[in-house]
Structure formats: C-alpha cells, structure tokens
C-alpha cells in the first residue's frame, strides 16, 4: 500500500488541480461565465484524491453534486471538464450534462448525480457487473453526510453485503448538508451503521490527511478486489466555500472559529509539508508543480472559451442509441 515518490507527487498534483480548477470555476460563476451554479470541493481535496488514488485506472466511481473533484481525482483531463461547465460542444458530455452531471467513462467515472443519493445504486450495479463478469474491477460511490440519510444507501449496502459486491461506500462527511449540521439530522455515527450490514465501517477522523484517507480506502479496495465484499468508509472533512458558489444564506449556520480551525488544516498545505519533510520533493519542485497546474487550468479555461456552443439540434441526440424521432 505504500506509494512511490512519483505517485505521492501525483497525489499532490491532483489535489492542487482540484483546488485551482474549482477556484477558477468559482471566479467564472461570479463573472457570469458559467450559467447556473457549481459546488466546489475546496477543502475536501485530500478526501477526494486519497480515495481516487486507492483505485486503479479501470475501477469505477460514481459521485454527487459536489462533482468536479471526483473526475479530476480519477485523472480526467481538465479542458473537457471546464468546457462542460460552460455548456460547450467540447465538454466531456458535449454540453448536455453541465457541472452537476460530469462523467468521463474513459477514466471509470460513471457520472455525478444531481439527486442526492441517487448514484449509490449505480456504483453498486457496476460492482455487480464486475462480480458477474469476473473482471476484478472495484467500484466506489462518493456521497455526502446528507445522502447518508437516504434509504437507497441502506438498500445498496444490504445488497452489496449479501452478494459480496466489490464496492466501497465513501461518505464525505463535511459535517453539513447545505445549511443543516449533520449531527442534527443523523442518529448515531455513520460509519457505525456498517455493523448492521455485517461489513467493516471505518471512520477517518482526519480527512485533511490524504495518506490517512488513502490508507483506509486502499484497505477497503483490496478487500473488495479479493472478493471479501463491501466497506463503508466515512471521512470527516470540511468544505471551505459556501454550499454552492454565489449562494448567500442569511443565517450564520457555521461559526467563524470552526472555519478558521479547518483552514489551518488545509490538506494541500499539509501534504506539501509532508512531501518536503520526508524528502520526496523540494520546495522549489513543489512551486514548479503548482505553477504547472495553474498553467493547465489556464489552458482548460482557454479550451472552454474556444470550444463552440453545440448546435441546437444536439438537444435531440443521445436519448436512445438509435434515434426514434422527437416531435418538437
């Protein structure tokens, strides 16, 4: 489970990619360059990338409305993702998905879902196909603490348990569902719920530590790949931005001290320090990496601007594998 230096650097690179991509997306929303809104993963990069790095390239993943980090973490190129946020033809979904519905099947990303909890059964089904076909692929479902109170999670955990499916249920507990503190709507501890289904339930208390997340998810992935069935991993983390960009809630549902404390545990700063202290990279190398990522994001932005909008006729495509004719 130990990572090579190259992989450790890749881990940091992907975290920085998510941060800079989402910062750019946030700016674009403010400037009116993105129609609608976006949900950023800023602050949760370790939780996202630690989990993704524990998966192989061919493994599957499904996600939710906090949607950009997952495909970026799985290795999806930034240009088509950015173009998708803008609704361009060069978007990863050709402009038909948008921020909420990113998917990049080339990296095993089976789609983000705008319906809270709804993609959990999809990842479970991907694990079913792996099991039936015997192809050794593992599937991971990302979902929030809010989604942890959807019934479909428990239907999925039961089915995965009884069929021993190679799936990891990964709860991103950022402690709030929109304005609602998790503890006010969640009975007991999420990870403890695994016991009721006879599967391991793991709580990563410091979800800002990429290695802690990576280790916990790697154990779950190995277990799944060995045919020993599912695991529920709950990762405690924090989102730095508002629930969605541009959202202004009248209430102060998160206190300032709490936010400050979590800002001090910025996952990217922590991991950079770790890499430098353990001699994996120098500060200069880290600066260079960050500059490269900034450049990547700038190019992705350019790509999104240069790509044309789709033809209106595209709205009628891809409903079915063979068009059946739609009357307008």
């Amino acid at each position: 489970m130990s990572l090579t230096n190259e992989e450790l650097l890749e881990m940091q690179r992907r975290m920085v990619r998510i941060r800079r991509f989402d910062e750019r997306a946030s700016k674009m929303v403010k400037r009116g360059q993105i129609p609608g809104t976006v949900h950023t993963s800023i602050g949760q990069e370790a939780q996202v990338v630690g989990a993704c790095m524990a998966l192989g390239d061919d493994d599957y993943m499904s996600g939710n409305h906090r949607s950009h980090g997952h495909p970026i973490g799985k290795g999806s190129p930034l240009g088509p993702l950015m173009a998708e946020l803008v609704g361009k033809s060069g978007g990863v979904c050709g402009g038909k998905g948008g921020s909420l519905h990113l998917a990049d099947f080339a990296v095993g990303s089976l789609g983000e879902s705008g319906i809270v909890g709804s993609s959990i059964p999809i990842a479970t089904g991907a694990a079913l196909s792996s099991k039936v076909l015997g192809n050794g692929k593992v599937s991971l479902a990302f979902f929030g603490d809010g989604a942890a109170n959807q019934g479909c999670l428990y239907e999925a955990m039961n089915l995965a348990g009884v069929w021993q499916l190679p799936v990891v249920f990964l709860c991103e507990n950022n402690q709030y569902a929109l304005s609602t503190p998790a503890h006010t709507v969640t009975s007991g501890v999420i990870a403890d719920r695994a016991a009721g289904f006879g599967m391991p339930g793991v709580r990563v208390e410091d979800g800002q530590d990429a290695m802690a997340v990576y280790d916990a998810v790697s154990t779950a992935v190995e277990r799944a790949r060995a045919g020993d069935g599912p695991t529920l991993v709950e990762v405690v983390t924090y989102r730095y931005n508002e629930h969605s960009e541009g959202l202004r809630l009248g209430t102060d549902y998160r206190n300032a001290d709490e936010r400050t404390q979590w800002l001090e545990r910025d996952p990217i700063v922590l991991f950079r320090r770790h890499l430098v202290e353990t001699g994996v990279a120098t500060d200069e190398e880290m600066d260079a990496l960050e500059a490269e990522v900034l450049d990547e994001v700038e190019q992705a932005f350019q790509f999104s601007q240069d790509s044309p909008f789709p033809d209106p006729e595209v709205a009628f495509r891809d409903l079915y594998t063979e068009p059946i004719g739609v009357t307008s």
Partner: protein
C-alpha cells in the same frame, strides 16, 4: 410453430436470450424459485425442463432482497458497465418504489453524459388488474413512463408478440420497460419455436376493416377483436390496430388507418387522464384531422382508484361492450347498452367508459 401461453412465451424468450448471450442475467424477487413462472418451465413441464437456476447458475439468476430502488439502480449501473440485465419487478405497482432510478438515472444517463453510456436493461412487470387484487396491485402505469423521454415502453398483447418483443428488448441497447397483462398470461397462441424478434415501433394490424379504426392496447386488444366480430354482424367493419410498443409509437400506421376509415376509437386500460389513449388521440387530431368524420372517442379506465369487490372492479376496464358502444357512437348508430355502468356515481359518470 407451436402453441404457447403468453407466460410461456415470456419464459421462452428469457431462456433463449440467456443462452444467446452470457451477459444476460435475471435479477428480481423470487426468480430462483420461479414463483411467477417465467424463470423455468411452468406447471408440469417444470420438473423435466428444470428451472433457470439449474440451467444458468446462481451467478446469472439472482434473487434479490425486497429493495426495488437498488434493484433498479444496480441493474442500471450493471448495464452501464457490460451486463444486459433483465429485471423482474413482478407487479407493475412496485415500479413506483424505484421511480427516482427510472426517471433520473435510467432515462437520463445516456443523454446527460453525452452518449457515453448505453443501458441495455429490461424491466419486466405485470399488471394484475381485473383480478380483485385491490388498489395496491392493479395499476396500469405505462402512460406515466411514456412521459419520460429515454425509456422504451412495450405492451405485448399476444404470446407471439410477448416473445418477439421481449427478445428485441433484451437485444436493445436502451432501457426498456415491458408491461405484461396478467389477464393475458394464460392466453394461447401460435409461436415460432425458433428465435425471432419483433422490431419496436411497428404496429400490428390485428384485423382489417374500413369503417372505424380501433387502436387497442394490451388486454384491450382481444376485447377490441371480440367487439369487431360482433360489429361485423351489425354491418360495421372495424380495423383493429395494436401499437405493441408505445415508445417508439408507430404513428404512421395509426394515421394511415384513420385516413382510410375516418373514425378513431382508442381502447386503453390505463386511467383516462394523460393515458396512452389521450396521446394517440392528440396525435390523430394533429395529423389526420382532415380525415376525421366523427369525434375521436377514448375507452379507458375512469379516473377512480381500483376497488376490491368484484361487483365494483369489473365495470371499470375497457371491454368488448364499451368498445362496441364507442364504435356505434362514432358511426352514428344508436348505443344499444346504457353507457353509464351501474355503481359509477354521477361525478364519475362523465368520465365513464362509453
């Protein structure tokens, strides 16, 4: 050709599809024990023909917990990643438990993801109406799903169609919902012993005629044929068309027929409002208005819930008598049977089948 029941034909299609492609799996409640008779030989033949579980093994025949949301969702996820699942949901009324997965995932994933996903998955369910099962088991919900672009909707009315359409459903790379009519399960018909498939979007002219077109759906098809036989004796020539699939719908065949007959009756066991009959009527009004010699008449189930008592339930669905009356109405004949069935109160009588 051999004579098969509707249910037997479904079983045969499933078996052939499983034999033809290893990626085809069947998942659902009680499928291992062949409780509903489509995952093994039925009746006496069960012992010698064996059940699917023996034939295909427990990797491909999977009993599920009673968890419709994850059954449907997992089948979608599996279809997106290489399997071709057939999901047996038993009763059509249970589809509502998985509404989110049908509407937000099955129907939208290919579209939202710009064509990256294909979803070769079949959702089978049976409509147990007309069998005194009460309000929770008698639904005919196909029109609700016609309102969801991205799904294909199949409503077979004969053993021949049941087998051929199901095979097409399995071989199609899009999500298909088949609604089987329980009252037709025992009906027998000629079915080829070899494999065959029936393309979607091709209506079947069940009976040719010149005076009135009756488009009939599911169990209303044999009722329409019975009505047509009676009407022939009265000198009225009825053409009966079975669309067989509601999405895609063979609009051309319906419009062509109405352009010859000038009259349309649609017989549909679904509730009246936003029924398949409503949609078909609207299409004909838009595309064949100039041919119409009389107003279109719908024969549907009135907008009331389904009562348990046999004394109450039977009157509600389209039957040969209501269809016959509707045809007489559009041909200008006097209606021989009072149009308001007994027991339907005044508020409903305006919507009663007639």
């Amino acid at each position: 050709m051999t004579v098969m029941s509707y249910l037997g034909a479904i079983g045969a299609a499933q078996r052939e599809a499983m034999e033809a492609d290893e990626r085809v799996v069947i998942i659902g409640e009680d499928v291992e024990a062949n409780v509903y008779g489509t995952t093994g030989g039925s009746g006496k033949s069960r012992a010698d023909k064996g059940d699917f579980l023996q034939m295909f093994g427990s990797n491909r025949i999977r009993n599920t917990p009673i968890s419709e949301e994850v059954i449907v969702g997992a089948a979608i996820g599996a279809a997106m990643t290489g399997l071709r699942p057939i999901v047996d949901l038993s009763y059509s009324s249970f589809l509502y438990m998985a509404m989110d997965q049908f509407v937000n995932q099955a129907a939208k994933n290919r579209y939202m993801f710009g064509g990256q996903a294909s979803l070769p998955v079949v959702f089978r369910s049976a409509m147990f109406y007309g069998l005194n099962t009460g309000a929770h088991h008698s639904d005919r919900p196909y029109p609700m799903f016609m309102n969801v672009p991205g799904l294909k909707i199949v409503v077979p009315s004969s053993p021949y169609d049941a087998k051929g359409l199901l095979r097409t459903a399995v071989d199609t790379d899009d999500p298909v919902l088949t609604f089987e009519a329980c009252t037709l399960w025992g009906s027998k018909g000629e079915v080829p012993e070899e494999e065959y498939s029936i393309p979607f979007g091709q209506a079947r002219t069940v009976r040719e005629g010149t005076d009135v077109t009756v488009v009939a759906i599911s169990s209303a098809v044999p009722e329409a044929v019975a009505a047509a036989e009676q009407l022939a004796e009265e000198g009225i020539s009825v053409e009966v068309i079975d669309p067989r699939t509601l999405v895609p719908l063979d609009t051309a065949a319906i419009v062509e027929s109405v352009s010859r007959t000038g009259r349309l009756v649609v017989a549909d066991p679904a509730h009246r409002t936003c029924s398949a009959a409503a949609e078909i009527s609207a299409i004909v009004a838009e595309e064949a208005f100039g041919s119409l010699l009389a107003p279109i008449v719908r024969v549907t189930t009135p907008d009331t819930q389904i009562p348990f008592s046999p004394a109450l339930e039977k009157q509600l669905y389209p039957n040969r008598s209501y269809i016959g009356d509707a045809v007489r109405r559009v041909t200008g004949e006097r209606v021989s049977v009072p149009p308001t069935p007994e027991g339907v109160d005044d508020a409903l009588s305006t919507q009663a089948p007639r």
